[in-house]
């Protein structure tokens, strides 16, 4: 039996090596500090910060959260103090986080992304940059940059030009063919991909006869979307060779291993922290137990291990019908 202390659990994102494959997700994990009373942050691979934009944003009106079967809708609206205030007041604190801190950048134009990315990436406290290209783009009627291979490439290329730090493009599940978007992001210089952001959704209050979110529509996260996210990872892993941070409904080690077997090198935990803030640790422990029991020395042996091509020719004509 392999010794659990000797396991290689590391995950690489460009030049950044995370000692553990578990990541606290953007918008769900504060700056990490909010969860420090409940978990040992040193046992996380990284924390991805809440997305920051060029200018301050108050975000959407409440309600911003609605619980749905095995999941939740959120419509925060990228509340954040803007990059100036952020650099001046917040970023220095991240130096104390006992794991890697990954910055997240959002914007409404290619130029926004480049501008914020350059300023944020210049800071030592920030180990890598994630481009949240899954927020609505005013110029494209509710569709996001990540719904279009061309816009995806333009944002990634513009950001790439501003920094040598590892760059992660965060993809949207709201597309027909995520592999094409993934190829486009990688061709434009992304070192890794976060797969996937929330699925667009809505809930209606039948008593008041109006949408339940202040913003009308929101993003669905949690176990409900896990099968959607696992497939997205599987398809992206078959299309590109860069590391994937799998995410979407991971609650347990078993869930995390589904993503890893589908092709993810690391796994992100968002909504599950709201059900139990100890989730990233219990998930890590469960992954270790799985590896020990099966004599798997390095997590890399498992990455994509279920990604063995389609099962048979039925797939070609196969269907969900």
């Amino acid at each position: 039996m392999v010794d659990s202390a000797k396991l290689d659990l590391s995950a690489r994102i460009g030049s950044l090596v995370l000692p553990y494959p578990t990541v606290g997700l953007s918008g769900c994990y504060g700056s990490g500090a909010e969860f420090a009373p409940y978990v040992d942050l040193a046992r996380l691979g990284a924390v991805v910060l809440k997305s920051v934009t060029r200018r301050p944003r108050m975000g959407n009106p409440t309600p911003r959260i609605v619980h749905t079967p095995a999941g939740m809708l959120n419509a925060i609206g990228l509340q954040n103090p803007g990059i100036d205030w952020y650099l001046q007041h917040d970023v220095a604190k991240f130096a104390q986080t006992p794991c890697a801190t990954i910055g997240s950048v959002a914007g409404f134009s290619v130029d926004d992304y480049a501008y914020v990315c350059e300023r944020l990436a210049a800071r030592n406290e920030i180990a890598a940059i994630e481009l949240n290209i899954s927020c609505p783009n005013v110029a494209h009627e509710g569709e996001t940059f990540a719904c279009d291979p061309d816009l995806t490439a333009r944002v990634v290329r513009a950001a790439r030009d501003t920094t040598d730090k590892p760059l992660i493009a965060k993809l949207s599940p709201n597309v027909s063919d995520i592999a094409t978007i993934a190829r486009s992001a990688v061709a434009a210089g992304a070192d890794a991909l976060a797969v996937v952001n929330t699925v667009r959704g809505m809930a209606i209050d039948i008593v008041q006869r109006k949408p339940r979110l202040g913003n009308v529509t929101g993003g669905l996260s949690g176990p409900a979307i896990r099968p959607i996210a696992v497939l997205a990872v599987y398809e992206v892993a078959r299309a590109v060779a860069v590391p994937i941070v799998g995410q979407g409904g991971i609650e347990t080690a078993s869930d995390a291993l589904e993503f890893i077997l589908a092709g993810a090198s690391a796994v992100g935990i968002g909504t599950a922290n709201f059900a139990d803030p100890r989730a990233p640790i219990t998930i890590l422990d469960g992954i270790i137990e799985y590896m020990v029991q099966r004599n798997v020395r390095s997590l890399r042996e498992l990455v994509g291990a279920a990604n063995t091509g389609f099962a048979n020719i039925n797939q070609v004509e196969g269907d969900e019908g």
Binding site: G30, Y38, M58, I65, I76, H89, A275, P277
Partner: protein, 274 residues
């Protein structure tokens, strides 16, 4: 805006007792000796449901005495129903204590507590503390019907004066609890917890009369610990806070979105910009 989260922890508890104090209203006693020592009036807990596929539930800490705390809640939806299905002896983990809590140390001695519906769950500890300090505590308590005025007698037994109101007139004043408040002698100070429309009315009443009022807000929560920005309320950013509190969107505006779970859930009426 004091932060309690620095002292909060995941607390494994065991269910000591469970009763249905009214139709679809559950009182759960839990064994949590360390928590009893830490909890202050107005604190809340995130109850972590056993099993999977659910977010935690934000609940006021109703009682805290000896080694027992209790949670009082309405069966509102899936999560509270799952919580209500727990049995005596089963385990329940909670994250607590959370939130800033009510300030019960003011000089005033004639206090009105205004509670609407489930808001009652967050005001027993402040009532006990104020009574212990020798204050006169009037509980203005409103609900839909007499049956929903749960635990009223408990507050009377503690020493509160009861001023009850029901929407249907089945007990006490027939109408809104805030109308009842307005008809009575004004207090020196107000603590309130209940639905937003009630809190708005309390706020208007208090500000008109320049009575200091603390309101414990309810908002849909994601994380409950300040990590998701799901639970905000617009407040005015005073210049004293400015250095530590991020700016708002509109240039020049001093209205910002504060997190109910982290900066609250208790706010001063005059801070709020609903």
């Amino acid at each position: 805006m004091a932060l309690a989260s620095s002292i909060s922890a995941v607390v494994p508890t065991r269910i000591l007792d469970r009763s249905e104090v009214a139709h679809d209203v559950i009182l759960l006693g839990i064994e949590a000796p360390d928590l009893v020592k830490k909890v202050r009036p107005g604190h809340f807990a995130m109850a972590l449901l056993p099993g999977r596929q659910a977010a935690g539930v934000a609940l006021g800490i109703y009682e805290a005495h000896g080694s027992r705390c209790s949670l009082l809640f309405f069966l509102a939806g899936d999560r509270t129903r799952r919580l209500g299905a727990l049995r005596v002896g089963e385990r329940l983990d909670i994250v607590a204590p959370l939130g800033n809590g009510f300030d019960c140390e003011g000089a005033q001695r004639d206090i009105a507590i205004v509670a609407g519906g489930v808001g009652i769950a967050s005001v027993l500890l402040p009532a006990q503390r104020l009574l212990a300090r020798g204050a006169r505590v009037r509980l203005f308590y409103g609900a839909r019907t007499a049956e929903r005025l749960v635990e009223a007698e408990r507050f009377a037994a503690e020493g509160c004066e009861l001023l009850l109101a029901t929407d249907d007139g089945s007990r006490g004043y027939h109408g809104l609890v805030t109308d009842l408040l307005a008809r009575e002698e004004a207090p020196e100070r107000i603590l309130a917890c209940g639905p937003t429309p009630m809190l708005r009315a309390v706020s208007a009443y208090a500000q008109e009369r320049k009575i200091p009022a603390q309101l414990s807000l309810e908002e849909a929560f994601g994380c409950g610990v300040g990590g998701c920005w799901g639970c905000v309320v617009p407040i005015v950013r005073t210049s004293a806070q400015a250095p530590s509190f991020p700016p708002s969107e509109a240039d020049g505006s001093d209205v910002v979105h504060a997190r109910v779970c982290a900066e609250g859930p208790v706010f001063w009426a005059h801070e709020l910009r609903w």
